[in-house]
Symmetry: C2
């Protein structure tokens, strides 16, 4: 970016400046892409939160937790929920407590290992989630309405590769 300063002798230009167009440390394109991705995520997420609150007086973290539990008929170990949701265990403690109080979730100590908690949706929780999840699906459909099938497929693919790229960077390759 600072490389565009231009009042120097021609020697400087010839010296090693093929890089002007593609400077080694220039990640401008990636940063703009990152910001756009973040904007999409933030806009949609904020709206989902708003509607969840207005329509159901519910929060997104609670919804996400219930979504994880929905697929596990027999419940799920807390640590597994933590891993899947990519949040800390400490975070879940309070979240689960709230949902237990509401009667949406049950919490049982594993008989095999008394350190382990097994979390599951109650019947009531399952029913409540079904209703919210249906609306949630409609909202997403609405927010993504103008996206063509092709764009959807294309985004799915490319974001898959991005996810792989990030994961590989995180695993220190």
């Amino acid at each position: 970016m600072d490389d565009t300063k231009n009042g120097e002798s021609q020697a400087e230009w010839l010296d090693g400046e093929t890089k002007v167009l593609e400077a080694p440390g220039d990640h401008g394109a990636e940063i703009r892409l990152w910001l756009r991705l973040l904007t999409c995520a933030t806009l949609a997420e904020t709206e989902i939160r708003r509607r969840l609150r207005e329509e159901f007086d519910f929060t997104l973290p609670r919804f996400d937790l219930m979504a994880q539990l929905e697929r596990a008929e027999k419940g799920m170990v807390l640590g597994e929920v933590s891993r899947r949701m990519m949040v800390s265990a400490g975070n879940l403690t309070a979240l689960v407590e709230r949902l237990v109080e509401m009667g949406y979730v049950s919490r049982t100590v594993s008989p095999k290992d008394r350190r382990v908690q097994i979390i599951a949706l109650t019947g009531e929780g399952r029913a409540a989630f079904r209703i919210m999840a249906d609306r949630h699906g409609e909202w997403i459909g609405e927010l993504f309405k103008d996206l063509s099938r092709q764009d959807e497929a294309l985004l799915m693919e490319a974001l898959g590769r991005l996810k792989g790229s990030i994961r590989s960077a995180l695993s220190g390759v």
Copy 2:
């Protein structure tokens, strides 16, 4: 998804089931895309937060605020920062206060309108931001490393359309 259950009489298949492939209320594809987008955003953002903390003992919200101020040579009205960052003004109050305490940001009451605060980076803030922003750029480059030029361009385009779709849904069209 559940629609793939297949052992029924052919009558059922003929009955009204063109929709098996495209049920009216099925937003499965969009939801999967949404979750993938969110995963990418979360993975990258979490890592950026971690590195910002480890390397500079700094937080992402503070970095984002300084990033907004960096381009405004003469400072920026608080409300404008709020709009650009898509966060509430109440949020910024405390954030700005912290950065003022650190000496990175100055806060001035506008002489034209005493309700208005003008926020700007100090020299020290600008210098500190430069250093962090350079590293930030490198991190993004690293996380996006395995993405081809073509994928980048393609994502930029398609996410632009997604952004448009979300925005149009929000403006109640």
